[in-house]
Amino acid sequence: MSTMAGATSLCQKYVSRKIKTIRWKPGLSDYGRAETFVSGSWDEMENVLEVWHVPEADDDPSAIHEVKHSDNVNDIQYVTRDSFATGGGAGGVRLFQHSSGGHLEEKFSWSKVHHFLGGASPCTALASNGDQIASVGEDGRLVILNPGHKQVSRNIENVGGCSLYAVIYVRASEVLTGNMQGHLKLWDIRSNQPAKATLISPDQIAVCTLAGHPTQQHLVAAGGEDGALTLWDMRSAYQPITVIAAHSGPITEVRFHPSSPEHLLTCGLDGQILHWDASAAGRPSQLPFKNTKQQSGPSISVWLSSEVAQGSIDTTCIIPVSHLPVNTLDVEGSVLIAGSDNEAIYTIRNVML
């Protein structure tokens, strides 16, 4: 199924599974076309991980390979170019490797990384710095794992057992977590100190997802349960830079575009995928791609500009509203992929135009 709307094209492929996570496989170079992604399902009798190939033409992605996953695939994060970790609904973390011919092989697994009194606790999110894997779960633990080592490298317990829903690496050794009470905590994983900083979102709305700016590490976007996007500057962490309400239900995933980070994409339980375009807030004389390359110097990110802080930012919904939650999205180059509870995988090409 494919429809044309301007230059953007949308494919909606029904895959007979509710998709919880979807991730592009990192390309061989930064400039190559992304063509392979993996998806993980949830809420099925038999959950699976699937590898998909996206053709260059406006066609549906085609399934290359699938492997069973005994529990919900709550998150997928690539550790290297061809290996990724999955966080399971039964609290386990597994490491998979793409082998030749597009097949997947399970390389390693840590079972019951997350657990509470009654048994296993779901792992809710993963992050990786290319070396280690950080995993958070509903038991409130932040666990650092090293691929190849059975032993848990670090285990940070959260007093009170408030579920952690999101985790990202802010720097190679600093991890930011978000929990059900809306608290963001910054941990230095090298030292045994308590959290370096605690950021508390207004009204204690649960933080469902976090995304780090690809080049400006102090800039973090958090998606809340009330459907509002909160932008934080980690250097002055007492107040968020801005809070913009856009979704009418909890946000499920936030992504900065990796190479044009003045664009941001979110999806939510209200069945929308929103495209946030802050490029108008930057200096108009500059070409958009130049912004991203200028890391040095005094240039500030468009996300910190006053226009954004005042909430004047263009958001457009880029799919026909689905009546069921969109659980996940990922974007690479000009192609956005998303997975939904209506058992469809969306492939949206030329998303930036």
Partner: protein, 658 residues
Amino acid sequence: MEGDSKHSAKTWSIPDPTLASGMCGTYSGINTLMVFPNRPVHHNDEPHTSMLTTAKLYQIESFSWLWGRHMRKLVNEAVGTFIGLQKAVVDVETDNCKLILVKKSREYRSMIQACYSEISEQLQSMKEKGQTSDEEKELIECSGLLSKMELILSLFEIVFIETKPGSIVLSHLISWIHQHFPECLDRKREAMESEHPHQHPVYWEAVYGLVLQGRTEDVRQMLASHPNAGTDAFLSIDELLRKMPVYQVYAGVSEPEFTVRWYHWQSECERRLQEGHFTAYHHLTILCQILCGDQSTITSLRDLMDTWYHFMVSTLLFTNPTIKFFRLHAAAQDAISAMRGEDMTTSLDHVLLAAMEADALQVIKKCQHVLDNNWFTAHITDLLYHTLSLRNEQNSLAKLRESLLLDYASDLLGHSSHWQVGILYLDHCGPSGIAMAQLALHKITLTDDSRARKVIHMASDRNFDAVVDSVCKVMGRRALSQNRLGAAIWWGVRSRDSSFTSHVAHQILHKYIAEGRFESAPLLDQLGPAMLLSDTLTFLGKYREFHTMYQDGNFKNAASLLVSLISSKLAPEYFWPILLLDALPLLNSEEPFISSEETYELMYCMHNLSQSSSKSTKQSPMETEAAKVSFLEKEKEIRLSLSNNLARALMHEGTVED
């Protein structure tokens, strides 16, 4: 717990002897039944040894062909079309409504077709691999079902949605036949691809088949390949075929005018037949007899038409091309008796016959019977309901539509992962739909936070506040049982459940007494108005506030807050000793933070406490013996500090007054 219901048979048995003496069943979900052995117990029965044997619980779930890997696409694609339809019908003016209904009906058809072709592809690949399995059998069954559904739906579209009553229907019926009986085209291809088409065994079969569907261009192409195509007989039939009038609604030819042309053309055919144009060619004679509408010739060719409806349409094409809709039924009856007699008709035939009688209720009823398939009946009833309400006819279908949608929705809710789709259908089922949606959302198993969040979102979208509260309560109690007090209190606050939050707050206080630290301090610091949910929670929040003030060095305010916590009786009694101990450093400080008034309050509290602790240990506010001992140790110190502070405060107050 085994549930085996993968058979489509209507009755099946559970092979368990313990069930023989009687069983009991109870609904365990929306669509699941829990069955267990149950023997009536009499009072004078002695406990029987056999009762001690293990009894099994059987979970019985409905299984539908819709849950298959391919068919699931229908479920999810159809819900989009369904909701789109409900919205569009409300928004759009009546004129465009019919177009929308036709469009939506075609959407349903195209998803059935897509599903069908996908299954065919898989069957093909299975055949190539040489696999024969149960799966293949199932797929073949499914594809049969899908093609029937498509056949019925497209006829349904012609009869009920697209045409007005009393209009001419044949052109639609012909395209319906074209779509579902493409075999004659296959024969044509087969014949034409051979070296000498006219010698191919199916050549004439193909010609007849094509002409019976009114595909005159294809017939002419085939005849042109005949070596005798240049003879007069061939040229004559070619002319007849070329000139055959075709009635089209928008062709600009009125119906009477078309009728005149038609009779003129057919009498020309008869003339040429009688004049013996085709005597040299037996096949062409038959062809011309068909064109003349010769009933016996058409009947003799019935083997080329698989079904009575094909036969009916072909007959009508040459005998009564302007047939009105209301005469269709008689034609159908004739066709059935000509084909094989009425007693041999299948259930599919009954459905189609009912459609041709324009008896919508009968169609729905038969579909329900035959297809074992709520998906189809729910959607066609919905389409029909909107069509009828469009014509302002008295709509008796509203109730039927609602109940069929409810049936379908309950099927979906019974499935482990289609519950969300089920709720979407219930939105359009009136008050009983709302009631069922509430019940269903209540009953959904909350496996993890993200599922709970989805249930909460769906419930709050529909203003089901009670459901939201109950989900939060369940999550809160679960967190408590997992000893996650912070999470429990968060869910408790969300569910606005004061007794539960009190209970958790007490637990947090006990834990503080035992361990000297707070569970989830940041949460408690930021409670805000939620604090007022219960007294204990208010106390907990305020007590945290005291800690914060104390840590910040704001001793004056901290002291007055502490005293007010004690004097307001907000604090649970077991916590009084802690509060008094907390007051100790404030009492001993250089500067008097606690006024004489406040000191009296504290002294009163102290008095009560020591009195009650000297009474029976059971009612003692102090938790444990150890706590009691540690308090008694400190008691002297506290009393001393109290009197010291009182003295200083009185002096201080006296000086200020001067």
